[in-house]
Symmetry: C2
Subunit: 332 residues, 2 copies
């Protein structure tokens, strides 16, 4: 309801944690859409397509809520939120190209409509604009964090790409989801605190909030891949495992059932036996691995809520708490 101006926010528009930053999100949206000004018109069309493709703007909302709660200057807060969303968008553009994905969030990906060369360059252009916006916050440590986070994300993708599709350790799993999801969310709340008039302990608290929220968010995503209904999640149940990507519920299942022949096959990297993997998906879905994973996500959320307790009381803190709790109760 409050998110009416946000395109395609998939039901999240009625959820109250966007409310305190509704006006800010509109400004972010305008800033995002102005990023292709002066560039080739087709780049403008590509950017418009990407920005209209159902992104929920969770990262900008997190940045705005944090910075607004902590009294950051209005202009920097908008610039930072837009920079974060563009960095995220650029990585998605290259991701979809790499995966050959034709749909994301129910919309055609850029590479479904553009040639691979144009898609590579559009991603590069969006990286450049993200870097410019980050620099526009006039904050050097922030700029360095941006660059380092991009390196972490890309190194994580490359590691996933180059690693055999087989059973992995929990330790590797945590590293992967940190690179994939938590690093950017951690950076968002951390940099939002950095541009605010607060001391280092507050910055560290908000970093911890973002880190733990991000870890929980990805674990829940990985659980929903097993437990969600295909119609809601928009992809086949167990699609990660069917593609050879072993996530936390499956790791827990494998730890509990080392003698399951399907687990043994997974360990030896025979993920390509589709029938086995389909059977394994069903086994994981019914196993305690799901609950163990959700419990773990819940623990991360508790660790996210803890540092929030010391933050200034108000609608923004409330929204950040709600967002954290929603992360583990969501169904899509």
């Amino acid at each position: 309801m409050h998110g009416a101006s946000l395109p395609g926010n998939n039901g999240l528009n009625t959820i109250s944690f966007f409310t305190p930053v509704q006006k800010g999100l509109q400004e972010v949206e305008a800033l995002l859409r102005s990023q292709s000004n002066g560039a080739h018109p087709d780049l403008g069309a590509a950017l418009e397509h990407l920005l209209s493709s159902g992104g929920k703007r969770i990262r900008p909302a997190l940045g705005l809520l944090t910075a607004q709660m902590l009294g950051a200057p209005q202009d920097k807060l908008i610039t930072l939120a837009a920079a974060v969303e563009l960095l995220h968008t650029a990585t998605l553009v290259h991701d979809d190209l790499i995966d050959g994905a034709l749909m994301r969030r129910g919309n055609p990906t850029l590479n479904a409509r553009w040639s691979p060369p144009a898609t590579v360059l559009t991603g590069d252009f969006i990286f450049a604009r993200a870097a410019k916006l980050a620099a526009d916050t006039d904050h050097l440590p922030l700029m360095k964090l941006f660059a380092e986070t991009l390196a972490v994300i890309v190194n994580g993708e490359l590691t996933q790409l180059l690693t055999a599709r087989e059973l992995t350790s929990r330790e590797n799993y945590y590293k992967r989801i940190y690179a994939k999801t938590a690093s950017l969310i951690e950076m968002t709340t951390r940099t939002a605190a950095m541009i605010s008039p607060v001391d280092e302990t507050v910055v560290e608290s908000m970093r911890l909030y973002g880190y733990n929220l991000g870890m929980a968010f990805q674990i829940v995503d990985d659980v929903l891949d097993f437990t969600g209904e295909q119609a809601e999640v928009g992809k086949p149940v167990g699609s990660d495992l069917l593609q050879g990507l072993v996530t936390l519920p499956a790791i827990y299942y494998a730890e509990a059932h080392p003698d399951d022949p399907d687990v043994i096959c997974l360990t030896s990297g025979s993920y390509s036996e589709h029938e086995r993997m389909e059977r394994l998906v069903l086994a994981v879905r019914k196993s305690s691995g799901v609950k163990k994973s959700l419990d773990e996500a819940q623990e991360y959320i508790q660790k996210a809520l803890q540092p929030l307790a010391g933050m200034p009381d108000g609608v923004e803190r409330q929204a950040l708490e709600d967002l954290a709790r929603y992360t583990v109760t969501r169904k899509i």
Copy 2:
């Protein structure tokens, strides 16, 4: 001779303009090679391959000469030079992927050895490291220029990709070579002055030097594509035009011979008629378009040398002057 430690610098090692910054270039080299520390080992191998593939380090040398001439702090000067070279390297990685090029400077390109996904991500990783190094100079306006220059380069590539392969105006040609080459060289000498203890007029002088040098450099490159011997240039004579890319010598020829049937075909976008284009290459090669283009490059070099006259006298300024003059006399 002095460049013995620089890999594959193609004969430039005996040219004296590298001499005053030889030690700095070695430090840059070490900093470049350390950029994959902590990342996936294959990324390290990819970076090593790219850095060993015959880059002449002209941009780092330009940055070092400028900054050293103007008394910049030693650490910033090395960091900046490495950042510039990495930004250049990242754009080349994505360029080669886009063009499907299998060789560059006589060495296999990264995409000739890696999958397209790994190549996209390696380019992204190098962008991230370039951004981090740029931020490490602790200079916000420099950081913004970096981001803006990347946007200019990428927008130029995309414009070239999306534009019909046909006769273009001189105006469009200048825009294209600015985006492709001059923008980064302009940024290099400009930012090198920015990190030095000098006033705005000196920064503007060094920007002008870089801009004009960059424009001349690309025009000469485009002339050599027509006049060079295949064995020296490493690609077929007229390869640009054969691929539908119309450069300055051809534009001058077309202006002088609007009724040449091959020119008319080019205007109407029929570049695919290979026989016509081969005939046109020979016509351009023998035409006054070559001399006109070289004269124009010479004018740019004069405009590059002019602002240098006001710079501190010494081996660095001499090297920058030599480098400018070499740009228009070189044969490869």
